[in-house]
Symmetry: C2
C-alpha cells in the first residue's frame, strides 16, 4: 500500500547514526508526504517512544517563547538533548514575529544540543496536526531526551497537537481573559500544569483563583487542595473562606498545579521545572504514561487510516471518471452530491 | 449505504410546504448527522440551487453584524426572503458577544421573511464546514431568495464556508491590519468585493490603497482600473503617480471593487448593494455561476465521500478488533501505527 522510496535505506542509516542532516531530511520528507514517508516512519518507530514530551500552549502574547527558552535552558543545564517544535500560526490578525523566528533568535539556536523545527499552521484543515505529531515522533526516534512542543492559539489543530504530549502546560496571562474562557476553549481538559505568566501584572491573583476554582469544579477536589505554588509573590491573593465538602480525589490522581511565573526575570521557573518532573514521576508511577501512549497510538492509527482512505479515493482513475460524470448529472438535475458519493463509495469500499 | 429514517417522508412533505418548523427540524437533523440525513439532503437537493448566496467574512470587530443587518434590511426592502447563517467562533480570546446573538437582538429577528440560524464553530476539525454548507443547501432548497452567510475569523473552516457562497464579501477595518495580512490569510483569493468598514477612522484611506495595490499585483490589472467606489469621502487619498504598463484584464473578468462603508450610519450601503447586484449579473453573464456551482458540487462530493469513508471505517466491528489487537502489538514493540493502519486499510478497501 505505501510506496517504496529509492534512497530510504541510506537515509535510515544516517538517521540512526544520529546525523542531524538526516533528521532534517526525514522531517521534510514527512512534511511533504513524499513517497515512502510512511515506510520511513514505520522503520524508525518500531522501538516506540522514549523522549519526555512536553507541550506548551496558550494565547498569543502569553510569553510562551520566553518561558520556553527558560524551560529549555534549565533542561540544557541538566545536559538533556532537546528537540523543539514550534507551530506558528499565520493568522493575519495575530501580529508580531513568528514564534519559531523568536526562538531561533535566542541563544538556543546556536546550541548543538538543541534541534529546532518551526512549522506553519497555514493552509491545513486537520492534516497539520497529524504531520506535526509525526515530526515529534521522528525527533523522539532520533534520540532526544526531551521534546518541547509549542503551539500558539487555541484552534482544534493546536489542541490536537498539544494533547499529543505527555505533559501539557497551559500558559495564561491576566490579559488573556478569565478561566471561564480557558474552560470553553477546552484547555481545562488537557492541562496538566497551569502557568499564569507575567504574574506581576494586575489581575494575576484573580486569574489564579479562577483557575483553581475551575479545577475544583471540574475535579470535585476541595479547593484548598488545588496546588498553587507561587514563584511570584501573590500573598495579597485571598482564598474563599468556606468550601462545601467534596469527595476526595482518587489517590493516584494528578493534582493540576497553578503556578505563577515571570518568564522575563526567570521568577517561578524552578517551580515549573519541579512540576514537570513531578508530573513525569506521576505518569510513570500511575501507569498513565502507558495509557497516554496507547491513546496516542489509537489516534495515530485513525489519522493514518483516514489519510490513506482519502489518498486511495482521490488517486483512483475510476473514481475520477465517476466523479466527472456525476458532476455532469448534478448540473443536469439528474443527481445530487449524495447520490454521486454513494456511487463512488461503492467503487472504493469492500 | 445511507440509513433510512422512519419519519422522513412526513418531514419532507412539511419542508416542501414551506413550514419553518420543518426547516428547523431538517437543519437539526443534518447538524446532528441523525440517521437518514443524507437521504433528506438528497431528496431536497434534486432541484439544484437557486438562491443568491452571499458570504461575509473578516476579522472580529470589523462591524460585520452591523453591515449584515444593513445589507439584510436593503434586501428585505426589495421583498426578498432571506436565510441567514451565522457561524460563531468560540475562541476564548475573541471576546464580545456572539454574532448570532447580536443578529437575533436586531429587528431582523422578528421579521417573518427572515430565518436566522447560528452555528458554533467549536469542536470541529473540518466537519463543521461541510455541515454548514449542507445547512445553506437546506435553506436554498426551502426557497429563500437570498442566503447571507456570516463567518467571523479567518481559519480554514471559515474560508471553506465563505468560499461556498456565490459572492464573497471581505470586510476589513483599519484596525484589522494591512492588506498584506489579508493576502496571507487567503482572503485575496476568495474576495469578490472588499469593504473597508469604519471608513471614518484613521488609516482607512491607506488600507483601501493597499488592497487596491494587492488586487493590482494579483490580477496584473492597471491600478487605475481597480474600482474604488467610495461611499465615504476619501478624497484625501492619494494615488501612485505612474504605473508600469500591464496587460489588460480579460474582457469577462470581474473587477473586485474596494468599497468604503460606515455600517453604523449606513454610509456606503447603497454601493454595497450595487456591487452585490453587479457581481450577480457578472456571474450569470460570464458563466461563472455555473462554474462555481460545479466546483462546489465537486467539493461536496469529496466531503461526503470522506465523511462516509470515516464512518465506514470506524463503525466496523472487524476494524475495531483489528485496531485493539494492533494497539497491543504496538505497545509490545511488534508494530507501529503504520503497520496497523495498513492492516485496517486491507479490511476496508477493494
Amino acid at each position: 500500500m505505501f510506496g517504496r522510496p529509492p534512497a530510504l535505506a541510506s537515509l535510515l542509516e544516517r538517521f540512526r547514526e544520529g546525523q542531524p542532516v538526516a533528521l532534517a531530511r526525514a522531517i521534510s520528507m514527512v512534511e511533504d508526504e513524499r513517497p515512502g514517508f510512511q515506510e520511513l516512519l514505520h522503520a524508525v518507530l518500531t522501538r516506540g517512544p522514549s523522549a519526555r514530551r512536553v507541550g506548551l500552549t496558550g494565547p498569543p502574547g502569553a510569553g510562551k517563547s520566553s518561558l520556553l527558552a527558560g524551560v529549555a535552558g534549565a533542561h540544557r543545564a541538566r545536559s538533556e538533548r532537546l528537540g523543539i517544535v514550534a507551530v506558528d500560526p499565520t493568522s493575519p490578525y495575530s501580529g508580531g514575529a513568528l514564534l519559531g523566528d523568536r526562538i531561533r533568535m535566542s541563544e538556543l539556536a546556536t546550541d548543538p544540543g538543541v534541534f529546532i523545527r518551526s512549522m506553519a499552521s497555514r493552509g491545513s484543515l486537520g492534516g497539520l496536526a497529524t504531520t506535526t505529531k509525526e515530526v515529534i515522533d521522528l525527533m523522539d526516534a532520533f534520540g532526544f531526551d526531551r521534546i518541547l512542543v509549542e503551539t500558539v492559539g487555541v484552534g482544534q489543530t493546536e489542541l490536537a497537537i498539544t494533547a499529543a504530549a505527555d505533559t501539557v502546560v497551559v500558559v495564561l496571562v491576566p490579559e488573556s481573559g478569565d478561566a471561564i474562557q480557558a474552560m470553553k476553549a477546552g484547555l481545562m481538559e488537557i492541562a496538566d500544569v497551569f502557568i499564569v505568566n507575567k504574574a506581576d501584572r494586575p489581575g494575576s491573583a484573580r486569574l489564579v483563583k479562577e483557575i483553581r476554582l475551575a479545577i475544583h469544579l471540574r475535579t470535585g477536589r476541595a479547593l484548598e487542595d488545588v496546588p498553587a505554588h507561587h514563584g511570584v509573590d501573590l500573598s495579597h491573593m485571598g482564598r474563599p473562606a468556606a468550601e462545601p465538602a467534596k469527595p476526595p480525589a482518587a489517590p493516584d490522581a494528578w493534582e493540576v498545579p497553578v503556578l505563577t511565573t515571570n518568564a522575563l526575570t526567570g521568577e517561578g521557573l524552578p517551580e515549573v521545572i519541579g512540576a514537570l518532573d513531578a508530573h513525569r514521576g506521576w505518569l510513570e508511577r500511575s501507569g498513565q504514561l502507558g495509557a497516554r501512549r496507547r491513546a496516542r497510538a489509537r489516534v495515530r492509527v485513525r489519522d493514518v487510516v483516514e489519510r490513506e482512505l482519502r489518498r486511495a479515493a482521490w488517486s483512483s482513475d475510476a473514481v475520477s471518471a465517476r466523479l466527472e460524470g456525476g458532476l455532469d448529472r448534478i448540473q443536469a438535475g439528474e443527481g445530487t452530491p449524495y447520490s454521486v458519493a454513494e456511487e463512488i463509495l461503492a467503487l472504493l469500499l469492500r
